[in-house]
Subunit: 215 residues, 2 copies
């Protein structure tokens, strides 16, 4: 029974790894759509969000099935609940990639991001990508130290986010309010993506160590 | 055993009702802080967010305990998982009230919302309040019809949100970029609050009817 449970748990973990990889790919593609005004990339991300939602529900169904069939207790139960949390964070990260893609599409064929902001969004996307990669890695092979790195990545994201406001609020901002609003929302999408990655990482750390991350 | 389970489930429901009421009160107070530059109200919301987080974890602990002790199946298991989802949505709604309060505090003693935007934020806050009230009501006494009303409320919120951008992007917007950014983020906080209320409502409907809400 216990071996069977662990095989099932392995299946759920594998689904989570694939979900994390899908979400990472979605945000990469959304960033490309954003920075190169690539309409097809934007549309692909938006269409792909349904697959991500589908996979999320798949994880949830399997966890429910496992809970019903195996009635796990203690750390096994904790692992199941953690899987639900991580899946929910990943699903939301997928939504945020979708939001970035939709912003790119709304301004197409104009770029949603003016030249002055390309460096900061390139950097934010780089951090987001690194974080999504780490989540996929720690889900495949739990590593509390690597998961804890997500906090430092998030600090880097927060600094970039502040820098973004510095540019938009600078005296020489030439683009007016509409572009400032786009930049504000886009900045928030990347920053929330990072927050959910941190959350997912904390759940994985909890699972590995049995202790919540001090916050 | 089954009666005992239902008594426990009742306790969890009651905790969710209280959480919903707390979240509703937090958003009311955050709105007051925002619209009247009330520093104390803002600080109270920010301090109170810890209680909301604490209650959220309390729900989760109880659900885990129940799952471990009772090993429910079928609809009882579904009710437990739904409770986790609803608690997560409510916790996030509390965060959004906290974000509104922090925005009010950051601009204090100046008002974060200029006169032109007070009507739209008053209306958005009114819709948010109505939605939080409905969530508390349907959690106390499941009512699929009332829960379904949340979708219409959310449409009203989306209209107000569009109207907000109309004002900020109007040719005669006199406040510059910083106020536009505040308005954009505040608008998003109320809109996301409504989205989470809709999610929570959908979970409750699923619980009552056994069918996901068509989307």
């Amino acid at each position: 029974m216990r071996n069977e449970f662990h095989a099932d748990l392995q299946t759920v973990s594998q689904l989570l790894v694939e979900l994390a990889q899908e979400v990472r790919a979605a945000m990469r593609q959304a960033t490309r759509a954003l920075l190169t005004a690539d309409r097809r990339a934007a549309e692909a991300v938006i269409a792909g969000d349904r697959d991500i939602d589908h996979r999320y529900r798949d994880v949830e169904e399997r966890v429910c099935e496992l809970l019903a069939r195996q009635a796990p207790v203690a750390s096994d139960l904790r692992a199941m609940i953690t899987a639900l949390h991580v899946a929910a964070d990943l699903e939301r990260m997928g939504d945020l990639a979708d939001h970035v893609a939709k912003t790119a599409l709304r301004r197409h064929p104009s770029p949603a991001v003016p030249a002055e902001l390309r460096p900061v969004f390139t950097d934010m996307a780089g951090v987001a990508d690194r974080m999504a990669e780490k989540i996929a890695t720690v889900l495949a092979s739990p590593d509390a130290e690597l998961a804890a790195e997500l906090d430092r990545d998030d600090d880097a994201m927060d600094e970039l986010h502040k820098g973004l406001f510095g540019v938009v609020l600078g005296a020489d901002w030439p683009y007016g309010v509409e572009t400032a609003i786009d930049a504000t929302l886009l900045g928030r999408f990347y920053e929330r993506f990072a927050d959910h990655a941190v959350n997912a990482g904390e759940h994985v750390v909890y699972l590995i160590t049995g202790h919540p991350t001090p916050s």
